[in-house]
């Protein structure tokens, strides 16, 4: 289907995607009536992964009709309040359910310490297991499953900060059913055929794999580059992702302040998207001083052609 985004209130139930990005909050430090603090949820084949949890994220989560029982991992980019302070309330609320299971919070060591203290006070006796996975501000794969992995990239903010890249692993080739039936490939061989093997029939004739299979679906990827100053060399570390969220706290007219506060302008974010070879750029973390979000889109479009203007309630499908 290709990249497509729509606001929640235009939700189209006939869109079925395996990888989508829900924007719960895309404001910056000072929450306003237009923009909430940072929080994003990745829906990957029905499993939910939250990146950052600003105040109000639990309500936005409900507004997006997401299911808490599907949420197993929360990734914090850094320990500024506007990215974290919705977590105590959300964990408390989750504690009221009887869900069981496990929740893993990926954060730095000092985050695990202070959050642990807060949960001990305000969210005791949780019905699920709460674990911290201690990460470091470095390049590393921090989570890996059969179908995807998640890696960190160190960013340049005022305190230790990472970006996250979600990448699907290479997928099995698609079986061409008619051909497999025609050549009487036994069921026990199917996984090997999917993996790319040729098939040797009992009469000795070798059927090349490309006759039996079609190319697999492309591997999708999403990079989440939160609060950071512009890092020219980061594009290479990110790679040609399908969707790049890169913070656009400022417009270029405040470029000096952006640098001083270790944030980026829309132009800089677009430059990273262009240099990384990303398919699309998702904006966000707008400073509350700006009244017209369209200005972020306009500025980014001068550098990069495919800009998705972020806002609360936006759902972006990668397939």
């Amino acid at each position: 289907m290709g990249l497509k985004s729509h606001p929640l209130d235009f939700y189209q139930p006939n869109i079925v995607s395996t990888f989508s990005i829900h924007t719960l909050g895309c404001g910056s430090a000072k929450p306003t009536l237009r923009h909430q603090p940072s929080s994003t949820v990745i829906d990957y084949r029905g499993n939910l992964f939250m990146i950052d949890c600003g105040e109000g994220a639990q309500l936005a989560f409900q507004r997006h009709k997401l299911k808490f029982s599907r949420l197993g991992h929360i990734f914090l980019t850094h320990l500024h309040g506007d990215h974290v302070l919705g977590l105590p309330g959300m964990i408390s609320t989750l504690g009221l359910g009887g869900a069981g299971g496990k929740m893993v919070i990926h954060t730095f060591e000092d985050g695990a310490k202070i959050l642990g203290d807060i949960f001990s006070f305000f969210a005791r006796d949780l019905p699920f297991k709460l674990e911290f996975n201690i990460i470091k501000p470095e390049e590393a794969v921090i989570l890996e499953t059969d179908s995807f992995h998640i890696r960190t990239i160190p960013l340049a903010h005022r305190i230790p900060t990472v970006g996250y890249v979600f990448e699907e692993k290479s997928k099995p080739r698609h079986i061409i059913r008619d051909m497999v039936d025609f050549h009487k490939v036994p069921f026990s061989m199917i996984n090997r055929i999917k993996a790319g093997e040729d098939f040797t029939r009992p009469d000795g004739i070798v059927i090349p794999n490309k006759v039996l299979t079609a190319d697999p679906s492309p591997c999708l990827s999403y990079a989440h580059i939160g609060d950071t100053a512009y890092i020219p060399g980061i594009a290479e570390k990110i790679g040609p992702v399908d969707l790049l969220y890169h913070e656009t706290t400022y417009l270029n007219c405040h470029k000096a302040e952006a640098k001083n506060r270790a944030h980026s302008t829309a132009q800089q974010a677009a430059t990273v998207a262009r240099d990384a070879g990303a398919k699309a750029l998702l904006t966000g973390h707008y400073s509350s001083r700006y009244k017209n979000d369209e200005d972020f889109r306009k500025e980014a479009l001068e550098v990069f052609p495919n800009v998705i203007l972020n806002r609360e309630g936006l759902v972006t499908h990668l397939d």
Copy 2:
């Protein structure tokens, strides 16, 4: 003008009151898309006093068009998350302004400890002075000014909890301008006349105070009885306030559960209002299980005639 309440979206700028109650959140532990966690702001002659600060209170504060620079005191009833977890975010946001001044948080000793730890981590270098006033779960006057005092009443919840009563002190009598001019009362005497003294003219004739003054405006009062089990004897401690907020987490059909969880039913809240001789009852802290808030009003009305059904955005004027 007498007691009057209106929702924010029916705000009437011609209402000028000296004492009003803003409902920022009147839900209970589990926030929903209908009700936010607990927070109330008292506007007394332009000075703001917040009681409890559930998640999202800072945004509701903005929605009510209240000014952070007018907020100097925050009173916590108890240390459950749905009454407290909006505070770290709000204090962080306040720290982004350059307001100066002082903010006092009234809470128990363990609240000061955990909140102090949280602020040290997430809200360093505040431009204003942040102080804790340590309270205890007992009857005490915790704040007193020339015009009002605030006292605590211990409640019966699962952890130490207090209610707060805001009471105006007796006010000076109103000068009858024409009579004061006629009897040539010197300006230097006016405060003594307001305090009730008679006036002796230079010719020896005594003018009784009641000729020179009219009765003062009545002393207004508001009691905030947050999370608590029903305490029959509490009515006497509260007294005949103008407005009693008394939590109504449950309906009477769940009376046993209310007792078990140390909460009250709408019927019990109305009983307290009736026994205290309150002029009006304000409901709230609705359990998320109920879908029709009107049921709280109906149940309370069976016991007490003047019930104000609370909701987010409600502003109730005491005068």
